[in-house]
């Protein structure tokens, strides 16, 4: 069982469960249609959006090629601004550091702004096992935290729940108050309850949409304002950043922010785009006394410089999820990992290589819609194929022998003709063949075509075509 997986079932089992859930599929279609439409409208607001995407791909590639120098500059500037930097090689090092900071401040309540990377390293579990209360403050994240679930979409974590389920889940913290199901009412309820947590909190934890090396800053975007609350009210702020989530200059930040909001939800800018540079200064009435930046490797350096290198260019907008015909059917939970959709199918097997994650690249039709949607032009289908190629190379000997025999047969005209004529000859047996062991599982999800009476070659020779 990998550290990433949230379920021990197979991809096929998880997908089967998801597809059987009609409510989930309606919600998925509605949300992905909305994001896809928003993205189209958002990008139409930019002149030469395609040119900007190409430029963004080049910018991300350049940053990754110079990553050691860019990170060094970031760390130096964070320290110069009065912050603290932690270089965490593994999830364990990162969580141990955050727990040590929490212990030093005797942090009883910790508020969190939405962050995928903290889910990746299972930070909440570590802090909670030390007896601390950890509260997710993004509304969607809070709902699924109370429900004991995991996010089903990068930017819409509670996508899979309807208002009645949400009301029931939030009812756990209602203290006898009667719950209503109107989304406005539920949001106002969350405002009241979470505000109490913000005021009580000793420490705030956020991710980082981007580290900015030349200024030593962290850029954080949220629509709800929970990112601002978590980084303004508690006396300690810890930001956790995957090491690749960095830009060198503010000009690069401008380009990334222009594409991020539009690709995620269609917004020109998210409601709150904060650029945080060190702890509070003299004379400021709020803001944390301490600012910590955790720079996390956790398997990323194993990807750097390999054929999967470009997956590290990802800015976590979620556009590839909405574009993917597979994600649109099965949703995020079926991927069994914090990272879902095409990006997750590439990234998860690299971060958490094992027998269960290696099948994720099969959750793709290789249609390439993900690459067309990606704001930084990651060739996702090439990377999915690269995974499959590796899996094929590792396949068992009998599978390899079978495919090799097929390749040899079809490179000889006589054998090609003989094998393609076979189904026309044995037409009526096709349906029976679909029941054969090994074929039946493949055939279950597919329409078996009725073979024609003659092959194309035969028709050609008769002058029928």
């Amino acid at each position: 069982m990998s550290g990433a997986l949230t379920s021990d079932k197979t991809l096929r089992a998880r997908a089967t469960t998801a597809i059987a859930d009609d409510r989930l599929r309606v919600a998925l279609r509605g949300a992905t249609d909305r994001f896809t439409l928003g993205r189209a409208i958002g990008l139409a607001g930019l002149e030469d959006a395609q040119g900007l995407r190409r430029a963004a791909r080049a910018v991300r590639a350049e940053i990754l090629a110079n990553l050691p120098a860019v990170l060094e500059q970031l760390a130096d500037n964070v320290v110069a601004n009065g912050g603290t930097v932690c270089w965490a090689a593994t999830a364990e090092e990162a969580t141990a550091y955050v727990e040590a900071v929490a212990a030093r401040h005797d942090a009883r309540t910790i508020v969190k702004s939405k962050s995928m990377v903290t889910e990746e390293i299972k930070l909440n579990e570590v802090l909670e096992s030390a007896g601390r209360k950890v509260v997710e403050t993004d509304l969607g994240e809070w709902i699924i935290q109370l429900a004991g679930q995991t996010p089903s979409h990068i930017i819409a974590p509670a996508l899979h729940l309807d208002r009645h389920q949400v009301a029931e889940i939030l009812g756990q913290v209602a203290d006898g108050e009667e719950m209503q199901t109107d989304p406005e009412w539920l949001a106002a309820f969350a405002r009241r309850k979470l505000r109490e947590e913000f005021l009580r909190a000793d420490m705030g934890i956020s991710g980082a949409n981007f580290g900015v090396a030349e200024t030593g800053s962290v850029a954080l975007v949220t629509n709800e304002g929970n990112g601002r609350m978590a980084t303004s009210l508690p006396r300690v702020h810890v930001a956790i950043m995957g090491m690749e989530r960095v830009v060198a200059t503010t000009a690069q930040l401008d380009l990334m922010l222009a594409l991020l909001g539009r690709s995620a939800s269609g917004q020109p800018l998210t409601s709150y785009t904060s650029i945080i540079t060190g702890p509070r200064r003299e004379g400021e009435a709020d803001g944390p006394d301490e600012f910590h930046l955790v720079i996390l490797d956790n398997g990323r350096s194993r990807i750097l410089g390999t054929e999967f290198h470009e997956i590290l260019a990802c800015i976590r907008c979620g556009a590839c999820l909405g574009a993917c015909p597979v994600y649109r059917q099965i949703g995020g939970h079926a991927y069994g990992s914090v990272y879902a959709g095409p990006v997750g199918a590439v990234l998860t097997p690299l971060l958490f290589p094992d027998e269960q994650t290696r099948e994720l690249p099969n959750a793709s039709s290789l249609c390439g819609a993900c690459m067309d949607a990606c704001p930084v032009g990651i060739p996702l289908q090439d990377l999915l194929l690269a995974h499959r190629r590796r899996n094929a190379a590792d396949a068992d000997a009998s599978t390899r022998r079978g495919w090799n025999a097929w390749a040899r047969a079809w490179s000889r005209p006589a054998l090609f003709r003989a094998t393609t004529a076979l189904p026309t000859f044995g037409r009526r047996f096709t349906k029976l063949a679909a029941r054969l062991p090994g074929v039946s599982r493949w055939a279950a999800g597919r329409e078996i075509p009725e073979p024609p009476q003659r092959t194309f070659h035969q028709m050609w020779e008769r002058g029928d075509v």
Binding site: A187, T215, S232, P268, S271, Y272
Partner: protein
């Protein structure tokens, strides 16, 4: 101590990984690297009339901009009536303090920003260091406001923005940042706090203000 973990070892792993270069992708080769970062141009932005553009963009993100020659008691009286404001906190900025003085004359209980006062207040009053015409954003600098949460904790936010602080794009603000010392917190506020986390239905004010008013002062 301001650095933990092993920087040399961490970066050493990266340098080794990158030492052989990056494999080419023949199917989708990378564009040439090292060019300048292109400026972002907005299709709908009329650079000759930033004020009108700002108002349109702010309305698009559900903020409430109003153009006026100067901030008047008439405007504020109508505003506090509509938003049912009885208490307010003001930032350190001169424009906010001036607005606070008028509000106090109108009977609003006005105090300087503190976290405790902001929690009780209906309204937070600030100015902004920039307004961004293309996105309808106002940009707040914590060293100017004196507190990050003036515009965050109260239910209503009023930003008094002199029109000469308008710039065309976020890039006009962002690209200048590397050249100067940054405040501890710089935030682009683009409309009210919003969430779509329950059934994708947009609700306002889940954490921050439900309503953001911008008085664009043109005099």
């Amino acid at each position: 101590m301001s650095e933990f973990g092993n920087r040399a070892e961490f970066l050493g792993r990266l340098r080794v990984a990158l030492s052989g270069g990056v494999p080419e992708n023949p199917a989708h080769p990378l564009p040439p690297l090292g060019g300048p970062v292109p400026e972002i141009r907005f299709t709908s932005l009329d650079p000759t009339d930033l004020r009108a553009a700002f108002v349109g963009a702010a309305q698009y993100v559900a903020a409430r901009p109003t153009r006026m020659p100067a901030l008047t008691a008439e405007f504020l009286a109508a505003f506090i009536e509509e938003e049912k404001v009885r208490t307010a906190v003001v930032s350190r900025e001169p424009e906010a303090r001036a607005a606070g003085a008028i509000l106090a004359e109108l009977g609003v209980a006005v105090s300087d920003y503190s976290r405790e006062a902001a929690l009780e207040a209906d309204l937070g009053v600030t100015s902004a260091v920039f307004g961004v015409a293309a996105t309808g954003s106002v940009v707040q600098d914590s060293s100017a406001t004196g507190g990050r949460a003036v515009s965050l904790l109260p239910r209503v936010h009023l930003c008094v923005l002199p029109a000469e602080r308008l710039v065309a794009t976020p890039g006009d603000v962002l690209r200048s940042l590397g050249a100067r010392a940054l405040p501890s917190n710089l935030v682009f506020i683009t409309g009210p706090s919003r969430s779509g986390d329950i059934e994708q239905i947009i609700t306002m004010g889940v954490h921050g203000p439900t309503s953001v008013h911008i008085a664009l002062i043109e005099g």
